[in-house]
């Protein structure tokens, strides 16, 4: 791995100084992997033989990734439902738009539910995307019941036998138990019509260690099945996603890399790990 080459050269040359290890720790910490994981990697590096360090670290990092399937499920006999959740400002609505574009490119029919009835103009934001991407958006009144919007959309998707139903929800801090309950309700209401196949938690690459608590609590209330890691086009490394995978076993499924609808990529483990410490 590129990151370690400098350190490795020095180790092989037998000249690692305290300063080099400091630099190494800085790179690990700066990735948002967490202090504990960073310390483990340093331990591992110090313990390994100089010509095995690289492999040892790569193996350790890869082992933290989950073995789960990273592809979106697809049902041929009924609509596949995807619920988008996350804290405020991580890019749920933008990710929803990207997902629509991704699915449409793969020739799927898509219906969208704008179940963020709370944030001012969130429905309009999604409706704008809907008309740009030429998909129908099911909306409800501002401050209305998001579950009823989701229910209506699920009913519609089922009747028209649409391939994918994507439900965008309002951002909510995981500490607000009332709002987390509301999310559980949205899920239960959808399930009256259609099973929920995928729950994607949108996590912002700039998120710090708080991301783990977020993931745990969202898992409890809606059984998250995958992550979308957004804003990977900035300077943040997004190591928190690996920390979440390691801690909670939720696989990263997509990476968001920009503001346009095409800026969504399927998760590539190797590329991600290489970028972590660059």
């Amino acid at each position: 791995m590129a990151l370690f080459s400098k350190l490795l050269q020095k180790i092989r040359g037998g000249s690692t100084s305290a300063g080099d290890w400091q630099e190494f720790e800085e790179a690990l910490i700066a990735s948002d992997l967490g202090a504990k994981s960073a310390a483990e990697i340093i331990e591992l590096a110090k313990r390994s033989k100089s010509d095995e360090i690289d492999t040892a670290i790569t193996n350790a990092l890869s082992a933290w990734l989950s073995n789960a399937n990273r592809e979106l499920p697809f049902n041929s006999d009924r609509p596949t439902t995807v619920l988008i959740v996350g804290v405020n400002g991580t890019g749920k609505t933008t990710s929803t738009a990207k997902l629509i574009s991704f699915l449409k490119q793969n020739k799927h029919s898509v219906l969208v539910a704008a179940a963020d009835t709370f944030r001012a103009a969130a429905v309009e934001q999604l409706a704008t995307w809907g008309s740009r991407l030429e998909v129908d958006v099911v909306t409800g009144p501002a401050n209305g019941d998001p579950a009823s919007v989701a229910f209506e959309a699920a009913t519609k998707a089922k009747a028209a036998n649409i391939d994918y139903l994507i439900i965008d929800t309002a951002g909510r801090l995981h500490t607000k138990s009332g709002l987390m309950d509301e999310l559980g309700k949205i899920r239960r209401v959808i399930e009256k019509v259609l099973p929920v196949d995928e729950v994607l938690l949108v996590v912002d690459a700039t998120t710090g260690q708080n991301g783990i608590v977020q993931a745990k609590i969202f898992m409890e209330s809606v059984a998250v099945t995958g992550l979308i890691l957004t804003k990977m086009d900035g300077s943040a490394k997004g190591g928190i996603a690996l920390a979440i995978e390691r801690e909670c076993g939720i696989p990263i499924k997509f990476i968001g890399t920009g503001e346009s609808a095409a800026d969504l990529e399927a998760f590539d483990p190797e590329r991600y790990l290489n970028g972590l410490f660059s």
Binding site: E25, E26, I29, A30, S31, D32, G34, A35, K36, A38, V87, N88, G89, T90, G91, F118, R119, A120, A121, A122, E124, Q125, T128, W129, A142, L173, H174, T175, K176, S177, G178, D204, A205, T206, T207, G208, Q209, N210, G211, I212, V213, Q214, K231, D233, G234, S235, A236, K237, G239, I240, E259
Partner: protein
């Protein structure tokens, strides 16, 4: 995990306290605990190391004195606390108003930091202080950011200058400039310019932000940052600082459980203070940032000052003085008064949030209780009282079986709920009588619903007393009175 900073601090200090005499090795140990606690709270490594260096040199200086003092652990705690406050920017700072209005405030930050929501909160805050703010919609990038600002503006009755529809249409620099001109013409004394979120690495958008800045020459440029941000906080803040420059920081989403380690990093690295903090979804969930309170929060000392201020704000002076007169004149505390208190409590926001500000609230058992606290309890209690006639509210003694049945039906509760409310109320009434007559028993801790005792103390006695009440553990009323 996130209460961890305060939990770890508390753990580290507890073990320190048990030691008595301190050796340099003990200091090293606690320094290393603090180091990992700070890293887990997303404080940047360079800032953590600076912090630890400072801590060590300050404790070394006073180590001999420390060991003479009766409680060296507390003395070190004080050093940590004052270091945190120093880094967080000393005392709170306010918006500088321009000598010649309008005062122009420019908001910048990453996407999703919460600029548009914050624009509304800031406008609402400034309006409440008698200003006439104007919001300018210069975020023409994100779909419907303009609409969002318009909706927010309408809800707080602050005009929004939005000549362009946004969604990629229009020139944000022109809009910002025209907005300031508009404010001058219409005599708005403050202009808040909302701009598009941008990444620190996006040179083109950074240039645009600079152009907006140069076009409106703002009196305050505020950098808006999410409290949950991780290690990238420093890099991005530096990029904005060098690219656009800013005068102060606004911390958003502080109502989560992130400890705001980024706040520490950004202030330390840029030398700029945090001016405001946003703490919830409503426009009123916004206040000046207080470094000392934030330090207390990080250290798990609770946030009593904020609690007291919110209490003062929620109880209008009429209600408070009416209650006080009643108390002094020896009149009975009625269910109507109780209802007024419940209303005031609801105005103060969620109970969980309020109770979370109490010292120790984030540790172990208390935290668990907090998590289980049923916000609906207040509403239930309220509905029972509202189902009573004025006579019943004034004199609960008349509540016989059939009246209780009617109240239960009217409020959709069980008769047992009504019974328990009346019991608890009668008990509280008795306690108040005792207090008045100087027999001095404090209301017994948890038997009374929070609705009954907390507000009582607040307007009249100040919040600090309330805490003492909470802490009181003694079963002996006389002892409790002494503690109080």
């Amino acid at each position: 995990m996130f209460e961890s900073l305060s939990a770890k601090f508390q753990g580290a200090f507890a073990s320190l306290r048990s030691k008595g005499r301190l050796k340099p090795a003990d200091i090293d140990e606690i320094a290393s605990e603090i180091r990992s606690a700070l890293l887990d709270s997303d404080v940047a490594l360079s800032v953590v190391d600076f912090f630890i260096e400072q801590l060590k040199s300050r404790t070394d200086e006073v180590l001999t004195d420390l060991n003479k003092s009766t409680n060296p652990a507390n003395a070190i705690f004080e050093i940590v606390n004052s270091l945190l406050i120093e880094i967080l920017g000393g005392s709170a700072r306010r918006i500088r108003l321009a000598k010649k209005p309008p005062t122009v405030i420019l908001l910048t930050g990453l996407q999703g930091a919460g600029k548009t929501s914050l624009a509304g909160k800031l406008a609402n805050y400034l309006k409440a202080q008698g200003n006439t703010p104007l919001l300018v919609a210069s975020d023409l990038q994100r779909p419907n950011a303009v609409t969002q600002l318009q909706v927010v503006g309408e809800s707080i009755r602050v005009p929004v200058f939005a000549p362009e529809p946004g969604n990629g249409v229009g020139d944000p620099v022109k809009v910002a400039k025209a907005g300031v001109k508009f404010a001058e013409d219409k005599l708005h004394n403050i202009v808040i310019v909302d701009t598009a979120g941008r990444l620190g690495v996006d040179a083109q958008l950074m240039e645009q932000a600079k152009q907006i800045r140069d076009a409106v020459s703002p009196d305050e440029v505020l950098y808006v940052v999410d409290a949950m941000v991780g290690q990238d906080a420093v890099r991005t803040a530096q990029a904005f600082f060098e690219g656009v420059g800013f005068d102060a920081i606004v911390l958003t989403k502080l109502d989560g459980d992130a400890r705001g380690g980024a706040a520490l990093s950004i202030t330390q690295v840029t030398g700029k203070p945090i001016m405001f903090a946003a703490t919830g979804e409503n426009v009123t969930d916004f206040d000046l940032f207080h470094p000392d309170r934030m330090a207390s929060r990080i250290l798990g000392l609770g946030d009593i000052q904020t609690l007291a201020e919110q209490a003062k704000g929620a109880f209008d002076s009429d209600t408070a003085s009416k209650l006080e007169t009643k108390f002094v004149s020896g009149e009975d505390f009625t269910l109507d008064d109780f209802l007024a208190q419940l209303e005031a409590m609801k105005k103060m926001g969620s109970m969980t949030k309020l109770l979370g500000m109490i010292p120790g609230a984030n540790s172990g058992a208390m935290k668990k209780q907090l998590e289980q606290f049923d916000e609906g309890e207040l509403v239930k209690t309220q509905s029972i009282v509202q189902s009573m006639t004025p006579l019943e509210r004034n004199d609960p003694k008349v509540l016989n079986g059939s009246r209780r049945m009617r109240i239960a039906n009217g409020s959709g509760r069980q008769v047992s709920d009504v019974n328990s409310l009346v019991d608890r109320f009668t008990q509280a009434q008795k306690v108040m009588k005792q207090m008045r007559s100087g027999k001095g028993a404090m209301p017994p801790g948890m038997q009374i619903p929070p609705g009954m005792q907390m507000p009582q103390g607040m307007p009249q006695q100040g919040a600090a007393k309330v805490v003492n009440k909470k802490k009181s553990r003694s079963g002996n009323p006389a002892k409790r009175a002494l503690e109080g």
